[in-house]
């Protein structure tokens, strides 16, 4: 079922799109797909498009946050894009925090964020 996740390289970033209602096997496959593609394409970061996702439960949240940590270890940034309002309300209510993963309303903004060099961010 992991073919339901699509990974496309845009600029130097991986655009990862999740299907609306992925089963646990598909969610688990996310990690391997993303890390494999990071290495293969020497990507700078990952945009995880969850705009189609209707249910974001604790298993899904844990997998996403672990994957983002691994991407960080590989020198990349992860930006989550397009969380639906009802999903955001639900995730907040049950206290699902995504750690320090960045988020963006649109995939376009997420792409800009993910492509930016973390080391070149201004520190003042």
């Amino acid at each position: 079922m992991d073919h339901m996740i699509s990974v496309v390289k845009v600029r130097q970033v991986l655009m990862v799109t999740m299907p609306p209602d992925p089963d646990d096997t598909t969610v688990t496959a996310l990690q391997e797909k993303v890390l494999g593609a990071m290495e293969r394409y020497s990507a700078k970061g990952v945009v995880l498009d969850i705009s189609a996702v209707e249910t974001f439960d604790s298993f899904f949240a844990r997998t996403v946050s672990e994957t983002a940590q691994m991407v960080t270890l590989m020198g990349g940034r992860t930006v989550i894009a397009g969380m639906r309002p009802a999903v955001a309300v639900t995730a907040t209510q049950i206290g699902l925090t995504l750690g320090n993963i960045e988020t963006a309303l649109t995939t376009e903004r997420a792409l800009d964020l993910a492509a930016a060099e973390p080391a070149r961010r201004k520190v003042r």
Binding site: D21, D23, D24, T25, E54, T55, F56, D57, S58, F59, A61, R62, R84, P85, A86, V87, V89, T90, Q93, I94, G95, L96
Partner: protein, 136 residues
């Protein structure tokens, strides 16, 4: 309180977690819940269906419509004959997990629903009942 006929779904494979979400979504939409409440109900059901699969191996999800005092709602019950929960109060604490998870399943479901009731006997099984009422 009047209720509709009860509908059942057997949970015994990982794909049944998806089936549980779909069933509950359809039922909640049909009852006229708004999109945010539908998402809350489906998310809670997803956590409990996964608990059955993960801890008990198999079980049943039952749901029915409720009517009481001029309001309507949905009741979803998760029944298994698995190992049971040793300490129900602790299981409802955030961050407590015996299965290597985040420990957010039960406490999360409780926050998303109006009512959550757990009956559990070690060695015999667990029944979790969820209720959500429609805001009128």
């Amino acid at each position: 309180m009047t209720t509709s006929t009860t509908t059942e779904l057997v949970i015994q494979a990982e794909s049944d977690i998806v089936a549980a979400r779909r069933t509950v979504r359809e039922a909640a939409v049909r009852l006229g819940f708004g999109i945010t409440d539908v998402t809350r109900i489906v998310t809670a059901a997803s956590e409990l269906a996964r608990n059955i699969f993960k801890y008990a191996g198999e079980g049943v999800m039952r749901w029915r419509y409720l009517e009481a005092g001029g309001r309507s709602g949905i009741e979803i019950q998760f029944v298994d004959h698995g190992p049971g929960i040793e300490d129900v109060n602790r299981a409802l604490e955030e961050g407590y997990s015996t299965g290597g998870g985040l420990g957010m399943g039960l406490p999360g479901a409780r926050r998303l629903m109006d009512e959550l009731d757990i009956q559990s006997t070690v060695g015999q099984g667990t029944t979790v009942t969820l209720r959500k009422w429609r805001r009128s």
